[in-house]
């Protein structure tokens, strides 16, 4: 009924009401409308998968069969054979009206299950309601048999066996960190320079591998010596890379064959027949060869992403589509005029939809931390070329326009702003934000290029190629810069730092001694003693997580193995090493800092009320915290009113800077497997909700159960009382190059205030202030409380309302009530 009424309303009327999601439906092509509505959402809704979404059992069965058959093979080869078996035998499909193909499952409603990742995830899957394909009993039996076969054999099982037992227990407690230290759930950058800029198709890469094999075999058949001994293993790795590339070409050809079969035997519409033939020709050309058209370019990219994901789940999607697909877009649309701009928009929109539909089974903590999505697909747009000139082009604009039409929460965009971005591009960026997409986030390109050089020593030209490795952290797309494995387990629940400093390292929520004993806080004589305890807890927490992650990375070639990823990395193809090996990588690690700002706010409140004003004793405070402020609401409000971050108040801002600089110092004392640094990156995804029942009461005034602050260096919701400029000024005191890797800032703006040309000018002025203060990131929600409350009441009518959660966007109706309320609580800034 609601939809029927909306069809009658004009676009003009809907614009006045700012109901952008209905406008999108009217404006997009019939094809895009069909494909958008065709998607089975894989993001969990408040933590649960949508009805009808099922886990794919075909792939784990195929994988296990072949993996067990080749049990004497080394890891890369064994995995290549098993994955090749999947690609040759899995069910594939072509959706009606699609021009791009490739999916991580055997039917559109399936979730990928990476069975070799972690036994604890496999056990969770068995117990997950609603995801077993029919008939359920048969599926449960299959899952039980598979789990039994893999028990103790998964990558995480193997890491856990050699990790220090104390580290393992504390990591697995779920109190201090997040994630699993394996490629199976990590995310890899793609060597786009090798694949796209150098125009290498898979046959070109196979040729290079053959040359490398020939050279190595000459040596292994030559004079014996220690230098030839490593080559034996590398020869097997090259074999594995070649095998999986050949299987990938066959996989693409299966789509081509299916498209031809449909065209010749089933399809009666002549236009669709032609499209299917073109689709077949596309899949016969890529990925075997470098692309010749926009459709081939996008299809090649999508095949690489799907194939990498069938190999390992991949929790993010580093990409720079407007940069790497520009040559083929320009050729097709501008030079040879093979397709119209509208036809290009259709392809671009579908390319986004293909990414949106990708999903794998995730454990419950991941679903709670990434509500509404299956991973952070943050695509990087804009920025500069390697020579520093503006890289924005018409494809940048096309992506921004397509985003407003298809309204997917994932991929989400991040725009690399720099001073020379043209006004018309900035307007397109603003339109996306005004349409309530919550993206693009805005990144300060000059600052982040400097940052990449400062922390990891990336040369300038390489730093300029950067993409978002996950939500926030830049990473080059080059031979020595590209990062093959970023495990989310270097993700710290930072609020525990101040919590443990207060309670002598004891965690009252999980009821165990977690951190070191840094002293009875009731006996601290001054703030400096308390701060010193905080520093020790910070060092302990970061050390524990980084040790785990380093070990997982170091052992990954042995415990997991990535033949496909290696085959697409120039340095791996040259060296014969697994791409995940630290050899040849410069290093690009960072510690994601969830729940960061609570530290500064809590430390400031203690300094003010306990040590400076002496209104309360530490013993009184500790008692209040341990009883969750029960019956002490007036005391709790006193602590809330203490100086808070985001108000341009040096009292607390100085403490924030001290905390950041202590971590920055320590970041240079700890090293990644490549020997490089581990800087901090404060941001949250929806970890602030996931950890709300894990972090205890704190001196900033929170209780156990309250949502933590929403992200990065964003002030607590409602605690920024002095307006948006004060927020920017607080954030501007941070050195966004030297104090950490990057710093997420959420801002909520009024859709009413930012309407029309005046709204654009206001926003542009805000961005100028943001840039002048040297901040590296900002992202916006522009949707009214009224709309969000209405969406809570009638979610069916608001399916395409999107909000910016933290480092990602989600459909508002897919996130839990608590997360929804937390977003509504965020202050709407009048600028």
């Amino acid at each position: 009924m609601a939809q029927a009424a909306k069809i009658q309303e004009s676009i003009e009327d809907l614009e006045k009401k700012q109901e952008w999601w209905w406008i999108a439906e009217k404006k997009r092509s019939k094809r895009l409308d069909y494909l958008r509505k065709a998607v089975w959402k894989k993001g969990a809704i408040g933590g649960n998968y949508a009805p009808g979404v099922k886990v794919d059992l075909e792939i784990p069965v195929l994988f296990t069969q072949m993996y067990n058959w080749w049990k004497f093979d080394p890891p890369m080869l064994r995995r290549a054979k098993a994955n090749a078996h999947i690609l040759d035998n899995m069910t594939i499909f072509i959706t009606d009206h699609a021009q791009l193909v490739g999916y991580v499952g055997t039917t559109p409603n399936t979730l990928l299950w990476r069975i070799d990742g972690a036994s604890m995830v496999n056990e969770e899957l068995y117990n997950e309601p609603g995801v077993m394909p029919e008939p359920e009993q048969a599926s449960l039996k299959k899952v039980a048999d598979l789990n039994a076969a893999w028990a103790g054999q998964t990558a995480v099982d193997k890491v856990a066996r050699i990790l220090d037992p104390e580290d393992a227990v504390k990591f697995l407690s779920g109190a201090i960190g997040w994630g699993a230290p394996t490629s199976a759930y990590g995310y890899s950058g793609k060597d786009y320079e090798f694949l796209f800029a150098q125009r290498n198709g898979f046959l070109d890469i196979i040729e290079k591998i053959d040359e490398a094999i020939e050279k190595a075999e000459d040596r292994t058949m030559g004079a014996p010596g220690p230098d030839i001994l490593p080559l034996y293993e590398r020869l097997q790795n090259w074999d594995a890379m070649k095998m999986i590339l050949e299987a990938s070409i066959r996989y693409a050809n299966r789509y081509a064959r299916l498209a031809r079969i449909i065209a010749e035997n089933y399809e009666t519409d002549p236009t669709r027949k032609e499209e299917l033939i073109r689709l077949a020709e596309t899949c016969e050309h890529v990925p075997a060869h470098a692309p010749r058209s926009l459709q081939e370019s996008l299809q090649y990219d999508h095949f690489v992403q799907v194939l990498a994901r069938i190999e390992a789940l991949e929790g993010a999607w580093p990409a720079r589509p407007d940069y790497y697909h520009w040559p083929m877009y320009h050729k097709d649309v501008n030079v040879e005029k093979n397709i119209t701009r509208e036809e290009a928009l259709d392809l671009v929109g579908e390319f986004m939809i293909r990414a949106y539909e990708v999903g794998g089974f995730g454990p419950r903590w991941a679903r709670e931390g990434l509500q509404g999505i299956t991973g952070t697909w943050v695509w990087t747009l804009g920025g500069v070329n390697k020579d520093g000139t503006d890289a924005c082009n018409d494809l940048t604009v096309a992506f921004l326009q397509a985003a407003r039409m298809v309204r997917v929460a994932n991929p989400t965009f991040a725009f690399r702003w720099h001073p020379k971005v043209a006004d018309d591009v900035m307007r397109e960026v603003f339109e996306c934000i005004r349409h309530g997409l919550g993206y693009p986030s805005i990144r300060n390109d000059p600052v982040l290029i400097q940052n990449a050089m400062h922390w990891h020593g990336h040369p300038l030209e390489e730093a300029r190629t950067w993409v978002h490795q996950a939500c926030m952290s830049p990473c080059p797309t080059t031979k020595h810069g590209v990062q093959p494995m970023r495990m989310a387990s270097a993700t710290a629940n930072c609020a525990k730092m101040v919590e443990y400093a207060l309670h002598n390292g004891y965690d009252f929520v999980v009821q165990m001694q977690m951190g070191p004993k840094t002293g009875d806080a009731a006996k601290f004589k001054d703030f400096e003693e308390f701060f010193a305890a905080w520093v020790k807890q910070m060092e302990w927490l970061t050390n524990t997580l980084v040790r785990t992650v380093n070990l997982g990375r170091y052992k990954d070639p042995e415990f997991f193995g990535r033949p496909f990823l290696s085959a697409t990395y120039e340095r791996a193809v040259e060296s014969g090493l697994d791409a995940v090996s630290p050899v040849g990588e410069r290093g690009n690690c960072w510690i994601t800092g969830f729940t960061w700002v609570e530290n500064a706010d809590s430390l400031a409140a203690v300094k003010k009320l306990v040590f400076d004003d002496k209104k309360y004793t530490m013993a009184e405070l500790l008692d209040a915290l341990r009883t969750n402020w029960e019956g002490r609401e007036d005391m709790r409000l006193d602590f809330v009113k203490a100086p808070k971050w985001g108000n341009d108040d040096d009292y607390v801002d100085d403490i924030m800077l001290r905390c950041l600089r202590e971590v920055a110092r320590h970041s240079r004392e700890i090293q990644c497997p490549c020997g490089n640094t581990w800087p901090l990156l404060p941001e949250n995804v929806s970890g602030n909700i996931h950890y709300s029942s894990i972090v205890g009461a704190l001196p900033n005034g929170r209780r156990l159960g309250d949502a933590l602050y929403d992200g990065g260096i964003s002030p607590g919701p409602g605690l920024d009382k002095k307006g948006p400029t004060a927020v920017l000024k607080s954030c501007g005191k941070i050195d966004h190059v030297g104090d950490g890797r990057a710093f997420l800032l959420n801002q909520r703006l009024s859709p009413t205030q930012l309407a029309g040309e005046k709204g654009y000018q206001l926003w542009k002025a805000y961005i100028k202030t943001w840039a002048d203060l040297g901040l590296d990131h900002v992202q916006f929600n522009m949707v009214s409380d009224e709309t969000l409350r209405a969406a809570q009441r009638d979610p069916e009518k608001y399916q395409e309302v999107i909000v910016r959660v933290a480092g990602y966007s989600a459909h508002f109706v897919d996130i839990s009530r608590k997360t929804q309320d937390n977003i509504i609580q965020r202050t709407i800034q009048g600028i």
């Binding site: 609401e633 209780r703 509504i824 009048g830």
Partner: protein
Amino acid sequence: MKCTECSFEAPVAKFRYLYNARIDASIALRQCPQCQAWLAVDELSGSVKQKVGPGEAPWGKSAGIEGLAEDAR
């Protein structure tokens, strides 16, 4: 404190604490252990203000410019 839905009466601490409406206000959500209703509770006075359903809230603050911003068209 007395539940407005089922009249269950007990000390405030017996009503399960869910989460706060805003950290800087004394309104929080608690759940009645008897009828499971979500209640908005004034933590200072220890009394129920109202039952809370989806889309309802006694809170939700902006910088005060909603409806007051000049129409830019």
